[in-house]
Symmetry: C2
Subunit: 197 residues, 2 copies
Amino acid sequence: MQEGDYPTECALLVKGFAYRQKLLHNGARQIISIHIPGEFVDLQNSMLSLADHNVQSLSRCETATVPIAALQALMKRSPAIAKAMWLDTLIDSSIFREWVVNVGRRDAKTRIAHLLCELALRMEASGAGSGPTYHFPLTQDQLADATGLTPVHTNRTLQSLRRDGLITLSSNALTVLDWERLREAGDFNERYLHHAV
Amino acid sequence: MQEGDYPTECALLVKGFAYRQKLLHNGARQIISIHIPGEFVDLQNSMLSLADHNVQSLSRCETATVPIAALQALMKRSPAIAKAMWLDTLIDSSIFREWVVNVGRRDAKTRIAHLLCELALRMEASGAGSGPTYHFPLTQDQLADATGLTPVHTNRTLQSLRRDGLITLSSNALTVLDWERLREAGDFNERYLHHAV
DNA sequence: CGGAAAATTGAGTACTCTCAACCAGCGTGG
DNA sequence: CCACGCTGGTTGAGAGTACTCAATTTTCCG
């Protein structure tokens, strides 16, 4: 899926990770969302006939593709489903808002810690992972593009988080050593995820 | 409307400007969206029972408030209205995505130029203003909080845009002197606004 | 006219970036 | 089996954009 395309189907992520990104004219990239198994990747693009961003897979992914026309019909027929998808989109939107805050007003360390908290919690909530150790699908370059930092600074910031005894992270395995302190370091409050209480 | 509240109605902005913001623990603020007359300010908060951000008015505003229950009923009854609101939310969401890019990957000058372009174009599209001169509802402090910069740096960056002959801006009047060059300076492409073609 | 809010200026600081080199792990192929 | 090359991660040094603090001027309103 490329920016500018006219999508005709949307994807439900069954297995594996994906992300959405936007490319800038100067060649820079901003990752605008990360998707874990069980999530719709592309409802937005699907409903707005013109794609305003593009989607990439992080690992080998299995997706279930649904034709948009079918989805629209389904929503028309079942208000319950329509509402569920609506909710999905709204939560998506809420996460974008938090990301604006994250890249806009937090320093590097807080920014990265916040993203780690978010991913860990979403994995927990979706059942895609649990315990103190999680599969972490991003390379440092991608983490940099998600947080609006450079790869070099991302690397140094991760080291600082490790030095503080908050996490370990290597070869796609993230271990949260001290959840409370990581949450604090990340200025993290999960309210915006709107997980059921 | 405060973060953490349980909203029961949502507001259609009839006259005046408003914005949504999130406050950080350290007292910083990030403005996450700006609303011009004719827009729903709060569909998001309305549908997610718990507010994850809060809303402020920029100028004296007139709003039409709609009870959420009524809205839900209306959506249930009329698929056309449901779809329209859905679209409204999706475009909202698209703008958030672009803001993530804006604060994440653009430098100060580009960032501010981009925001000016966006506001100008949205005013045009909504009929809330036109011509090279627009009502500009933000103070420099607010512009800073919308772009993730400091007020001082925002001030200097605006001066630089003025020196370049791209805009004039004073007492809430923004004049775009050279639309093409401003658009270029702001790395701006209006696709994400999803305005009808 | 006076006071508050908004805008502007100056000087010094620092966080993050750039550029560049180097290391480690790993799959491929000779 | 080891060399090779590639991707991802790490380190160093220096530069620069944006920040902080603080004072001053201008504008806005009551």
